[in-house]
Symmetry: C2
Subunit: 224 residues, 2 copies
């Protein structure tokens, strides 16, 4: 008989299998032409002395998004950070204590706007270069970061999702620089500009950048 012929096992019943849910937030920053990711070590919890992205467990009275805001604030002090879902991970053995699925988010922030401080229950917090991640990472967080990074790269190719990575007004060379460092490729200046204008997402401010040779034009991202 077909293993799945009987549908009784796929109804939601009061005694349906349950597990804990966590939110993990991969926070990217862009400093000195390098893409960096925020990692921390906790003083409590299941895997101490391993680097992890900020994350924690969802409670009964909150959504996963509430949970993501809460844990990010608790562990970093950051507030009002915009984040987007990447994907949900549910491997059976991904947590040593019990079955835990995690919903992973990414955020793009400007590190100088959010100075790092040691919050309670955090023993270390640091920005790591994406190409120099530490060896001892907790759970499946290396995979989470790699997936979030691929997600950001794809979004960058298709849309202009720069979050706080650039100031509100920026020049085309600054934008190209960001693309080159995140996508890790060298771009042709003329093709890059053509593509940006085809995407129709930039608005000229009519102003020029002060203090820079040639005074390049400043642009903003169009409000959609």
């Amino acid at each position: 008989m077909d293993r799945y012929e009987n549908l009784e096992n796929i109804q939601v019943r009061p005694d349906s299998f349950e597990c804990s849910i966590t939110a993990d937030i991969t926070v990217f920053g862009y400093v000195d032409n390098k893409l960096k990711v925020l990692l921390l070590k906790k003083t409590v919890g299941d895997i101490k002395d391993h680097w992890m992205v900020p994350g924690g467990v969802m409670e009964a009275e909150e959504t996963i998004e509430d949970c993501a805001s809460k844990v990010l604030h608790a562990l970093t002090g950051f507030q009002n950070i915009h984040f987007e879902q990447v994907r949900t991970y549910s491997s059976i053995d991904r947590h040593p204590l019990k079955r835990v699925i995690t919903v992973c988010y990414y955020a793009l922030i400007k590190p100088e706007n959010h100075p790092l401080t040691l919050r309670s229950n955090v023993q270390s917090i640091e920005w790591f270069d994406m190409d120099k991640l530490p060896d001892n990472m907790g759970f499946d967080h290396r995979k989470l970061i790699q997936d979030a990074y691929a997600f950001v790269q794809n979004n960058l190719r298709d849309r202009l999702v720069v979050g706080e990575l650039l100031p509100k007004q920026f020049t085309l060379p600054e934008l190209q620089n960001l693309y080159e460092h995140i996508l890790n490729i060298k771009l042709d200046k003329r093709n890059f500009r053509k593509k940006m204008f085809q995407m129709d997402i930039l608005k000229s401010t009519g102003e020029k950048k002060a203090g820079v040779k040639g005074g390049p034009l400043l642009y903003e991202v169009k409000q959609l």
Copy 2:
């Protein structure tokens, strides 16, 4: 005191809050130049007599992806369907019986390859035009479908994700037709072709379509 200052509430403990997880799969098909979505009514379960996308609850020994395959097969008979995560929904009151979060997927299939049959515990199963969804839909499934549709539209703009929507070999007019109906816009033929070749994802088969005036060239999607 900062509500979240104390981190004890975000550790995963054996007694951490748990809830049930479901997988819901929005299956799109493309028939007679219309994008359609597969809905069904169950004979059992929490909301009978409401149209829903195929879905069901994750068990202890399976991942969410295993669960998605299982419920899709159980409710439709479909096997080996490729699906992708859209996003995870966790509103507190989205299920009347208990706290349930759902991970939503989408699939693109060719309905003629997958004839509909009534499986056990399903009282009705039908393809609905995207612009004629029924009024009585269960849970938040109307929102799930709208989000999955936006996701497919975005992917279509940025990449060529046609799944089974087209035959293996297709003409450029057939491809443009698909785009126009899914994006719900009229496209300029010359610009469309230019964009498709810029994306560099089509491979000419060197063959022409038989039985069609002009014998237009047949293309395939490049294997990446």
